[in-house]
Amino acid sequence: MSGLIALVEPILFILAAPLLAGWTKMVKCRLQNRKAPSLLQPYRELAKLLRKQPVVAEQASWLFEAAPYIVFASAVLAAAVVPFFAVHLPTASIADVIALAGFLALGRFFLVLAGMDVGTAFGGMGSSREVTIASLSEPAMLMAIFALAMSANTTNLASAIDYVLDTGVAIRPSFVFALAGMVLVAVAETGRVPVDNPATHLELTMIHEAMVLEYSGKYLALIEWAGEIRLMLYGVLIANIFFPWGIAEDLSLASLGSGLAAILLKLFGLGALLAAAETVFAKMRLFRVQEFLGFAYLLSLLGMLSHIILEIGQ
C-alpha cells in the first residue's frame, strides 16, 4: 500500500506543479490590477509547446538535446523524495535533504552546460550568472539545514517532520531564523523577483531564461515544467518542515485526504505571499544579489547560533 502511494505521490506532485505557478500568476496579476489568465493556463502552455516543432541550433551537440530530460528527471526524483502529503513513505529514506540539494544541483549543472553548448553570448551569460548565484546560495541553504538538523538530530526529511510534530508548537528562534534564510534562498534558487525576473524579455536582464533561450518545443516544455516542479518543491519543503501540522502520519484514506488538502492550502498561501513579494519588491542588480544571499547566510547563521546559545540547557 505504501509502495502504491509512493508511486502516486510524485505523479500528483508533478501534475499539480503548473497549478501552483498558475495560482501565483493569478494573484500577482490581481495585485497589479491586471486581468489574470485562467488558473489552467500553464497546462495549456505546456500542451502548446509539446505540439510545436523544436528548432535546435546547428552547432548544438547531443548534450543540448539530452539535457532537458536530465533536468526533468532530476526534478521528478527530487519531488519523489520530499514528503508531499504523507510522512512515512519508503521513498523518503532514499535521500536526505543534502542529497535533495544534490539532485537540484545535477539538473542545474546540465542546464548550465546546455546554455554553453550553443556557443552564443546569451547562453554563456546566463550560465555564468547562474553558477555565481548558485554558489552563493549553497552556504545559506546548508546553514539553515544545519540549524534544523541540530535540533532534530537528523537530515532525513521524514524524521525532521516527525520531530516537529512530536514536540508540538514551540517558538524556536533557530527555526524562525532558518525559515527566513530558507525563504530567501528559495527565492534565489527558483529565480524569482527580486533575484531574477522569470517574465522578462530583455536578454541582458535574464539569468535562468538566458540559459534556456535556445530551447523550443518539447525541450522547452520539459524545462518549464521542471522549473515549476522546483518552485513547488521549495514550497512543499518550507511548508512541511516548518509548519507540518495536517500532514498524513498514517496511510488511511481519511488522513491522506486531509493531508493533501492541508498541503494544498499551505501552498496556496505561500504562492500568494510570493506573488505579493514579487509585486512589492523590484528586481535587484546582479551585483546586489551577493548582499541578498549574504543576508540569507547571516539569518541562517543566527539561527544556528541561537540554537546553541538559547536552546540547549547546561
Binding site: 516543432q53 526524483l77 519523489a80 536526505d96 545535477l106 556557443g119 552564443t120 555565481t132 546553541i308
Partner: protein, 705 residues
C-alpha cells in the same frame, strides 16, 4: 601473499625503469638477448631477434614493454592492496638493505593496503594511456629513456613509502619519490618557466622532507630507536607530541598541497607530461595524506583535539582558496592543479573532524570523518586521474593549453568528451557519482558536532561545513566552466577546429576504466565502506557497523532515521523518470526536430569570437570576491577620440596572494641572511689563514682545559 604482490609491484616498476634505459641502446640489448636466448632454449631465436630488434619496430616494442611492466606493477599493487585490506592482518618483514644495525623494516597493513590500491589504479590507467601519449616525444627529441626510468623509480618510491616501517627507510623512499618526480617535472626543460617550476617543486619537496625528518627525530629522541614499532609504544609529553605533529603537518602538508604551503602545486603539475601529472595529482598527494595519517593516528597515537582543529582550519582554507583560484584559471592543467588543492582540503577536513571527535572522546563519531577522508582520497584519485588524462588527450590533439583557444571538442573528440563529462560530474559532487558520496559523508561527520560538549566547537564546525557547501558549489561552477568552454560551443581557435579523436586506443581505454570506476564507486558506496572498515579498525580501534546496517543498498551512518542515502535506488529513480519522460514525451510530441541558426537578436554576424570566454565566465565571482586574488587589469586604448573604432588591449593577471604574502618575503629573508653570512668570505687570504689560526687556538685551549 599480499606482501609478495607488493614486492612484485615494486620490482616490476624498477624493471620497467631499467628497461627504459635501453631505448637508445638497441645494440646492447640485442647482443645481451642473443647471448642469453640459447641458454633459455628459445627456438628460432635469430629470426625472432631480427623481428624484435629491427630498427623501426624496436622503439614501439620497447615502449610497450616498459608500459606493460608498469601496468603489471599497477595490477600487482591493486590486487596486493585489496588483499591486504580484506585480509585484516598485518604482515611484517625485514629487508637486508640499509645500515648494518638498522635493516629496512617492511610492514603491510590495512592502511598501506588501501593506499597501495590507490597507487595501483592510477598506475594501471597511466600505463594504458602512456604509450599513445609519449609517442610525440620521440619527434621532439626528448629523452624517452629518462621518462621511462624516472617513472619507474617514481612508482617504486611511492610504493616503498607505503611499505616502510622505520624512519630511515621511509625517508629514503620519500626522497626517491621526490627526486625522481623532479626529473619528470623538469622533462620539458626548454622553457625557462618549466625550469623555474621544477626548481620550486624540488625546493619545497626538500623543505618538507626536512620537516618530516625533524618530526621523526622528535619521536626517535623519545623512543631511542628508528623503528615504527617502537614509535607506536612510545609516550611523548603533550608539548613534544604537538611539536612532532606540527612538524609532520608542515612536511606532509607541504607535499599534499595544503594552503599556505601549496605554491609548488599549480606550477609543477601543469608542466609535467600529462600521465605524470595524473600520477602526481591523483596518487602522490595521497601518499602525503598517508604519511600524515600514519604519523598522526598510528605513530603518535594520543590524538589531541586541538590538532584536529588545526587540520580542520587548514583543510577548510585549502578547500575554499583552492576552488576560488581554480575558477579563475584559464590554463586547463593549472585549473586541475588548483582543484587538487581543493580536494586535499576536503580530505583534510574529514581528517580534522575525525581527530576532533577522537580527541574529545567520541571515537565512534570519529570513524565517520575518517571514512569520509579515505573515501574522498579514493574518489579524488580516480576522478583527478581521469580529468588529467582527458586534459592530456586534448593537449595531445590540439597542442593548446589555454581554455580561451578551445571549444567545440564535443563534436570533434566525442569519446574523450564523454569521459571528460563523467569526470566533471564526479568531481562536482553530483549524485549518483562517487564525489557526492564522500562529500555527503563529510557533511554527516560535521553534523555529528552537536554531540560535542564545547559550544565553541559546536558552532565553528557548522561554519566550516557551510564553507564546504560553498566549495562544492564553486567546484561545480569551475568544472562547468572547464567543460563548457573547453568542450562545448564553437571552436575558439584553429587547432581546436581541426582536432581529431585520439588515435591510440590506450588513450581512451585508460580514462574509460577510471570513468567506469567513478560510476561504480558512486553506485555501490556501502560495500566500499565495508571494505574500508579495516583501516578504521586499525587506526581508531572501531568501525561503523551502522553504516552498512541496513543492507548493501543503503548507506546509513548513524541510523536509518538519522541519515540515509541509497545510490542504487537513486540511479533507478533517475532512470525510470528519464525513460518515462522520453517515452511519454515521445508519444505526445511527434514533431521532428529542425536545425537552424541560433538566436542572434536579428543582427546576425555571430562568430566563435562572440561566445562567452573563459575570463568572462569567471568575472562575476572575480568581482564579488575581489580581495582574494591579486588581480591586475590593464586596459590600453588607441588613444583616439570617443566615437572612433580603435583596437583596445585588455590584459588580466590573476595571481596567488600567498606568493606575495609568504613566499617572496621568505625568499627575500633567506637572501638577506645569506648575504650576512657571506660577509665571512672577504677574499683576503690572510683572513682565511687567521680563521684557521683562531680555530687551532680554540681547539688547543679546549683540549688542554
Amino acid at each position: 601473499m599480499s606482501l609478495f604482490l607488493a614486492y612484485l609491484s615494486v620490482q616490476c616498476a624498477l624493471l620497467s625503469g631499467a628497461l627504459a634505459l635501453f631505448s637508445e641502446h638497441r645494440m646492447i640489448l640485442e647482443r645481451a638477448a642473443n647471448r642469453l636466448a640459447p641458454l633459455a632454449g628459445l627456438k628460432e631465436w635469430p629470426a625472432r631477434s631480427e623481428r624484435l630488434f629491427a630498427a623501426p619496430v624496436y622503439p614501439r616494442l620497447l615502449q610497450k614493454g616498459v608500459f606493460g611492466l608498469l601496468a603489471l606493477s599497477g595490477l600487482a599493487a591493486l590486487i596486493g592492496g585489496i588483499s591486504a585490506l580484506l585480509g585484516q592482518g598485518v604482515t611484517v618483514d625485514q629487508l637486508p638493505f640499509g645500515l648494518p644495525w638498522l635493516h629496512w623494516h617492511v610492514r603491510l597493513d590495512a592502511l598501506s593496503g588501501f593506499f597501495l590500491l590507490i597507487i595501483g589504479l592510477g598506475v594501471i590507467a597511466a600505463s594504458l594511456y602512456g604509450p599513445g601519449y609519449v609517442r610525440e616525444y620521440r619527434q621532439t627529441e626528448h629523452p624517452l629513456w629518462l621518462l621511462g626510468l624516472c617513472t619507474g623509480l617514481f612508482v617504486a618510491g611511492m610504493e616503498l613509502v607505503l611499505l616502510a616501517d622505520d624512519a630511515f627507510f621511509f625517508v629514503i623512499a620519500w626522497e626517491l619519490m621526490s627526486v625522481s618526480s623532479y626529473f619528470l617535472v623538469a622533462f620539458q626543460h626548454e622553457r625557462a618557466a618549466n625550469r623555474r617550476a621544477a626548481f620550486l617543486y624540488l625546493l619545497m619537496a626538500e623543505i618538507g622532507a626536512i620537516a618530516i625528518i625533524l618530526g621523526f627525530g622528535v619521536l626517535a629522541g623519545f623512543a631511542h630507536s628508528y623503528s615504527f614499532d617502537v614509535f607506536r609504544y612510545t609516550h611523548l609529553t603533550a608539548g613534544w607530541g604537538t611539536a612532532a605533529f606540527l612538524l609532520a603537518l608542515m612536511g606532509f602538508g607541504m607535499k599534499a598541497g595544503l594552503v599556505p604551503l601549496h605554491a609548488w602545486l599549480p606550477e609543477a603539475h601543469p608542466v609535467a607530461p600529462s600521465h605524470i601529472s595524473a600520477l602526481m595529482s591523483g596518487v602522490m598527494l595521497k601518499v602525503a595524506i598517508y604519511g600524515l595519517m600514519r604519523f598522526g593516528f598510528d605513530l603518535l597515537g594520543d590524538v589531541q583535539w586541538q590538532w584536529g582543529v588545526a587540520v580542520l582550519i587548514l583543510g577548510t582554507a585549502s578547500a575554499v582558496l583552492g576552488v576560488l583560484y581554480a575558477f579563475q584559471q584559464n590554463e586547463i592543467k593549472r585549473l586541475l592543479a588548483y582543484s587538487s588543492i581543493e580536494n586535499i582540503g576536503i580530505i583534510a577536513m574529514g581528517l580534522g573532524l575525525s581527530m576532533i571527535f577522537l580527541g574529545t572522546g567520541h571515537g565512534e563519531l570519529g570513524v565517520i570523518g575518517l571514512l569520509a577522508a579515505l573515501y574522498h582520497s579514493l574518489n579524488h584519485s580516480v576522478f583527478k586521474n581521469l580529468l588529467f588524462l582527458t586534459a592530456g588527450s586534448v593537449l595531445h590533439q590540439t597542442h593548446e593549453h589555454d581554455l580561451e583557444h578551445l571549444g567545440g571538442l564535443v563534436k570533434r573528440m566525442p569519446k574523450t568528451a564523454v569521459l571528460a563529462l563523467i569526470g566533471c560530474l564526479a568531481i562536482s559532487a553530483l549524485p549518483p557519482f562517487n564525489g557526492f558520496v564522500s562529500e555527503w559523508l563529510t557533511f554527516q561527520a560535521a553534523l555529528q558536532s552537536s554531540s560535542l560538549e564545547s559550544g565553541i566547537l559546536r558552532s565553528v564546525i557548522p561554519v566550516t561545513a557551510a564553507v564546504l557547501a560553498f566549495t562544492g558549489a564553486m567546484a561545480a561552477a569551475t568544472f562547468a566552466k572547464f567543460y563548457g568552454i573547453g568542450f562545448l560551443g564553437l571552436p575558439r581557435g584553429r587547432h581546436a577546429a581541426r582536432a581529431r579523436e585520439a588515435a591510440h586506443p590506450g588513450m581512451l581505454a585508460g580514462p574509460a576504466l577510471l570513468a567506469g570506476l567513478c560510476v561504480l564507486l558512486g553506485v555501490l558506496p556501502t560495500p566500499i565502506i565495508r571494505m574500508l572498515e579495516p583501516v578504521s579498525q586499525l587506526l581508531l580501534g572501531q568501525t561503523l557497523p551502522s553504516a552498512s546496517g541496513e543492507g548493501w543498498i543503503w548507506l546509513t551512518p548513524g541510523s536509518r532515521t538519522v541519515a540515509s542515502y541509497s545510490a542504487l535506488l537513486v540511479v533507478l529513480g533517475l532512470g525510470l523518470a528519464w525513460w518515462t519522460a522520453r517515452y511519454l514525451i515521445g508519444r505526445l510530441a511527434v514533431a521532428e526536430v529542425r536545425r537552424s541558426r541560433p538566436w542572434d537578436c536579428g543582427f546576425g554576424g555571430l562568430s566563435p569570437r562572440t561566445q562567452y570566454t573563459s575570463t568572462a565566465f569567471s568575472q562575476p565571482i572575480r568581482r564579488i570576491f575581489a580581495p582574494i586574488w591579486a588581480v591586475r587589469e590593464t586596459i590600453r586604448t588607441g588613444g583616439a577620440e570617443a566615437l572612433e573604432n580603435t583596437p583596445v588591449h585588455y590584459a588580466l593577471e590573476v595571481e596567488d596572494r600567498s606568493w606575495y604574502g609568504l613566499y617572496a618575503p621568505a625568499a627575500r629573508g633567506v637572501e638577506a641572511l645569506a648575504r650576512r653570512v657571506a660577509l665571512i668570505q672577504t677574499g683576503s687570504v690572510r683572513l682565511y689563514i687567521a680563521y684557521s689560526f683562531f680555530t687551532l687556538l680554540l681547539l688547543l685551549g679546549v683540549v688542554s682545559g
